[in-house]
Point group: C2
Chain length 198, copies 2
């Protein structure tokens, strides 16, 4: 079965849309999804981006929030803008990086808390109820996330993202190295994955 890698960071707004659409669309296309949380700041830094481009370019930022509302509506997803943006996402990224075969559920639930309900997602206290709501052992998972292995897992994903040519989020990459940037490139990425697999 062809594979599509989905690169995301909980600081990324459009990744909320992608996280909720990639699963069903990939299943329909017969494609396996590899969930890869990474540290977007580490990918922005070499580009000279010291903050979210949506904060650095005000008009683009204002547009993004309106666009997000429309995309959420189009996809039947709730949307609420969090008070703080971007939120400190490193803990949530680490949790997803150690979530094993529950990574899809964990990713969707954290994004829904953040952009569906506008909740903070930066701390243990923020994330615990989200994880508990999935029937997971929140304390154990949060401890794993900040263990040396948890930190290394996110670092490895971030190195792999840079290696794969990822420069923003969400990004989809195929096994033959094609890069597709943006939630709006999901269909194109899946079509590529299914038509270019040996």
């Amino acid at each position: 079965m062809p594979r599509l890698t989905f690169w995301y960071d909980f600081a990324s707004t459009y990744s909320y849309i992608a996280a909720h659409t990639v699963g069903p669309a990939a299943e329909k296309a017969g494609v396996d999804v590899v969930w890869r949380p990474f540290l977007l700041g580490a990918v922005f830094a070499p580009q000279g981006l010291t903050d979210s481009p949506f904060n650095m370019f005000e008009l683009k930022g204002r547009y993004m929030w309106r666009d997000m509302q429309r995309l959420a509506d189009d996809n039947g997803l709730p949307f609420k803008r969090p008070e703080e943006f971007p939120q400190r996402s490193i803990l949530a990224n680490r949790v997803a990086a150690v979530a094993g075969d529950r990574v899809g559920d964990v990713t969707r639930a954290i994004y829904s808390a953040e952009f569906g309900e506008g909740r903070p997602i930066a701390t243990d206290e923020d994330l615990a109820p989200v994880l508990t709501g999935l029937g997971l052992d929140a304390a154990a998972l949060l401890a794993d996330a900040v263990s040396p292995e948890g930190k290394q897992a996110l670092r490895s994903n971030t190195d792999a993202a840079l290696e794969a040519g990822v420069f923003g989020a969400p990004t989809f990459t195929t096994e033959d190295g094609e890069v597709f940037w943006g939630s709006d490139r999901l269909a194109q990425a899946l079509a590529w994955a299914t038509s270019h697999t040996a």
Copy 2:
């Protein structure tokens, strides 16, 4: 019939795709297209953008050229990257601004020369064969373009773009003031135009 305004500048790569897809898609949706060439640089300047973002952010630029090739392939359009990017587009923009009811043909033909064949489009000599190929009086149209009225036509469009909240190209705006940025937002913009018209 609902109307969709299509804002573009010949310095914009993705507008090549939009210029060739907006007509057929709008006709199918029962929407009138208003073609509005404008000066992208005047919209970039207040954002602190002194060059194409695709030149300022190298990774994004490299990705854009690959993405353009794929989008051209997907839409059955030829694609050849011009040696110079961005090209000086003010004359071509002015020509489109004075092209009257041939604006769609003129716009598509100039974009095809530029990004379908990779040709220069900056000067009278570059544009004359393109216009002649459409059966137009190239000399007359090029003279109109740089007349006071031609210059004012492009200036008015640019002022209107800023007024409408345009911050990049291509952009589509609806009669009720919604802004859609990017060739990949065409279907969404048309759906909005048809469903939100009184």
